[in-house]
Amino acid sequence: MRKIKSELIKKKIESMVIRANTQLRPDVLAALKKAKAKEKNKLLHNMFSAIIENAGVARNKKLAICQDTGLPVVFLEIGDKVCVDKNIEDIINQATASAYKKGYFRASIQKDPLLRAKRPSYEPVIIHTNIVNGTRLKITLLVKGFGCENKASVKMFNPTTNLADIENFIVEVVRWAGASACPPYVIGVGIGGTQDFAGLLAKKALLRSITKPNNNKKLASLEKRLINRINALKIGPMGLGGNSTVLGVNIKTYPTHIAGLPVAVNISCHALRSASVVI
């Protein structure tokens, strides 16, 4: 067994949480710069400049990239030979809350979703756990704002559905999001599993670098096709048009039941924020 002290995990999570909120992912920044370089319209060019400038201001002044510091979603990968001296979910919640306070990030969590009677707080975060073989401990944070989370969608298709119908659904979800969720977007798509699991796949898909093509060739070409179709919607930055509605489309699949074909779409704003730490 590998013993890991909770204090060490806490410290590592805290710095990762601050980094995730204040430093835009390099792949996203690169995609934004590329899109800006391609943009000939002066107004749209300026919109990209503001987005890129914002990332610089956030990094240099240690400000949150976006005021919506999200409902933090944590992906925990823990080896079966790892032993921690405290409940790891408690450690994650405490460390995340503590980092949000230290970073002067907004508390956005409503304890009671219906009554909404209390001031928003920093806890609880959402935790997804995977038990892996060995002594590895990896913690990833996805800072998901709700402007774009509100535009997520899941559809339960028939197993005999044509790929074209699935593609149309994905494009329509983005059309429906319009200008409200901070385009240009990154689109996470989850195909397979169950209704809830497809949603999780879509979210996990957002963690993959958008500058790296999908390992699966068929999915890679589907991603390319979707990028072209979604860009043809001409939503563009701030909804002002142009050829850049998406920076990337990432698809993740999983086995599913003979009777179904769940498809989930999770939209991320251009401020796609995530970071990982391996302890």
């Binding site: 005021q67 409200s180 901070c182």
Partner: protein, 173 residues
């Protein structure tokens, strides 16, 4: 770039056209979901609001706390459409301008036209950058709402684009 200075008047707004890029000096009152719900209920009950709505501009924003030495943390716009159900009531009560991001409902568009008001958008997802334009802030009301409380931001050179003008013309059409 055209400069717009608050407080707004119907005469100033009449000059603005959808698609126009502006820079604004003046006051913005932050208010989002829960503050809107409360204000609409208070207007219906003829109660006094924490600030006088007439001729003011509301900014759909829930800011981050200020780092030491700064006025405010990241403070970009939130999705405007969530406020749509309350907006016609606020416009009827005298609100002249709104700042947010994204499309509005048909009902909001016709209320803007009817009351000769204006809807602006600002750089979405750029909260850190926008915080640089906020020169001071004052607490106004609904403190129990935490980040959803109402603050008066005094802003300078605040970037705006006219999204729906007083004629009801929209950049999204």
């Amino acid at each position: 770039m055209k400069k717009l200075t608050g407080p707004l008047t119907k005469a100033k707004i009449k000059q603005l056209r959808a698609g126009q890029v502006l820079s604004y000096d003046g006051i913005l009152y932050t208010a989002r979901d829960q503050a809107h719900k409360r204000m609409a209920a208070m207007i219906n009950k003829k109660q006094e609001l924490p600030f006088i709505l007439k001729n003011q501009v509301i900014y759909y924003c829930g800011p981050n706390p200020a780092l030491p030495g700064r006025v405010i943390g990241a403070c970009g716009p939130t999705t405007s459409s969530r406020m749509d159900r309350f907006t016609p009531i606020l416009l009827k009560a005298g609100l002249l301008g709104m700042v947010g991001k994204g499309e509005r409902s048909k009902e909001v568009l016709s209320a803007i036209k009817k009351h000769k008001a204006v809807y602006f958008i600002t750089h979405a997802g750029c909260g850190a950058l926008i915080s640089e334009y906020v020169k001071s802030k004052k607490f106004v009301g609904f403190g129990d709402l935490g980040p959803e409380a109402v603050f008066a931001f005094s802003v300078q050179d605040f970037p705006l684009m006219v999204a729906i003008d007083s004629e009801g013309d929209s950049i999204y059409d």
